[in-house]
């Protein structure tokens, strides 16, 4: 079977700086894959390239959505990529702070609605039906993620852990086949991290959504991932199962520096 995401030979230059250097990475259906590496390795740049925020300098990003053929998505606009079925969250929380929790999730449903400006103005029967569906669907997502109690609160008033989960809920509302999480556990306490771990597994198992995550919490990465890719200075330096990565000397060197001799 084709991998649902296949990145081949991807490079990204910012002027003279090469942030990504001929990177290869793939995610298969139903997998949880982690992308790790020291700070500044280019992990977030990689996410920005595959979600359409940056147009990569070279290489191919190929996706195979379920029941669809392979498609090259280099240089497509972010909203088009979301419509194709890849959703992401950010390292620093980027909710719409002045909208309610429900509205934040409904915005995610936006790309699955068909109504245009005329529909919005004249509020035909079909449009109203669609709006009602969007509310029910969004509420269902909130219940799944355990945020139903906050439904009418402003996003900015939520506790930190809940804001992080709301980002995931909003991403899920776009009905992705692949969910990209950028440091989902950043700033969480051990208990919240444990809950996040369970949530991610649940999303994969019950929603059949594959997951690619960037994370620094090694305990989480090791317990969660099927496979791990390791980056340093924009290059891939290792890939494999958690056990292999843990004992890989190249990885240890990248994390602990040149002077370290194991």
């Amino acid at each position: 079977m084709e991998p649902i995401l296949a990145v081949k030979n991807l490079s990204m230059n910012f002027g003279g700086l090469r942030a990504l250097d001929r990177l290869d990475l793939d995610v298969n259906q139903g997998e949880i894959v982690a992308l790790i590496g020291p700070n500044g390795a280019g992990k977030t740049t990689f996410f920005n390239c595959i979600t359409g925020i940056y147009t990569p300098t070279e290489g191919d990003i190929l996706i195979t959505p379920p029941r669809n053929s392979v498609q090259r998505i280099n240089g497509l606009k972010p909203n088009t990529i979301t419509e194709l079925g890849m959703a992401r969250t950010f390292q620093n929380i980027r909710l719409f702070p002045k909208m309610t929790v429900l509205e934040n999730v409904m915005i995610g449903r936006h790309c699955r609605l068909s109504a245009g400006i005329l529909g919005a103005v004249f509020q035909g029967k079909k449009v109203r039906k669609e709006e009602e569906r969007a509310v029910t669907d969004s509420y269902a997502v909130l219940e799944k993620i355990g945020l139903a109690q906050f439904v009418n609160d402003l996003a900015m008033n939520l506790p930190y852990g809940a804001q992080r989960r709301l980002e995931i809920a909003r991403a899920l509302a776009t009905e992705p086949f692949l969910l990209l999480l950028d440091e989902p556990a950043a700033g969480m306490n051990p208990q919240e991290t444990q809950e996040l771990n369970e949530l991610i597994v649940r999303i994969r198992d019950t929603e059949k959504i594959s997951i690619l995550l960037i994370e620094h919490d090694m305990k989480l990465v090791m317990s969660l991932s099927d496979r791990i890719f390791v980056m340093d200075y924009g290059k891939k330096i290792a890939q494999g199962a958690p056990r292999e990565i843990k004992s890989n000397p190249v990885v240890i060197k990248a994390y602990l520096g040149e002077e370290f001799h194991a």
């Binding site: 972010p78 719409f96 509205e103 409904m106 936006h110 919005a120």
Partner: protein, 302 residues
Amino acid sequence: MSWDYFIELFLGGLTRGSIYALIALGYTMVYGIIELINFAHGEIYMIGAFTALIIASVLSLFGMHQLVVLVLAVVLAVVYACAYGFTVEKIAYKPLRKAPRLSVLISAIGMSLFLQNYVLLAQTSDFLPFPKLIPDFEFWEPYSHIISSQELTIIATTVVVMILLTFLIKFTTIGKAMRATAQDKIMAALVGIDVNHIISITFIVGSATAAIGGVLIASHIGQINFFIGFIAGIKAFVAAVLGGIGSIPGAVLGSLVLGWTESFFTGYISSDYEDVFAFLFLVFILIFRPAGILGRSQTQKV
């Protein structure tokens, strides 16, 4: 200094304020979404008025009923102005989306001058008489000494437009997408919103309200020329800043406050200094509330 006189000034200010509000909405919505002062916005208002004049003149030749002429003139002025607003954004602002903000501002000023001169050449530099499109309603006759049918229509139209707009922004999918885009453009795109599409819609909605304002005020005052967009645009811009630019209720409140300030100062002191009072008041408000009446000043993180 009678009570009646006060009421008259109050209602006069309300009428002025309503017109300013219809124009100020376009400024504040565009600013809310792309942080640009769209200096060409006043010209869209002027073009709306000119379109209505042409349509009304043609239709009157056929001897149509006044109300039919009014409705058709407003509808076509709105369509025409929307097309201009949409095109101006595509030509003058969209290519500069990633440019520094000053470049876009210069582009806006250029567009404003271009449209003024285009109308000057295509039409005339003289003031043109504008037909009285809004009829004197018979049922309103007993009260017309307090407020004329024209003024009543202007105020009522503004109220209806405000309600529709509030509904659009608060409760529809498009409205949610607009708010989301205003708060975080990149994130909006990442949840599947076509940001360029939303920006276009914002320009179209703003142009539509400006065109409605253009037709109403032209019919009220009775004459137009190519330059009316400039002063009306500046006043509405002042109103938007006064209320807190980027905020829609702020734009309405700022417009009303400006309308009343002008009306009361000219009524009780002197009409020679109408603009002086308006701008003095702006300075005064901005000293005490730099972000406008409803604006929230944000501390920049450094």
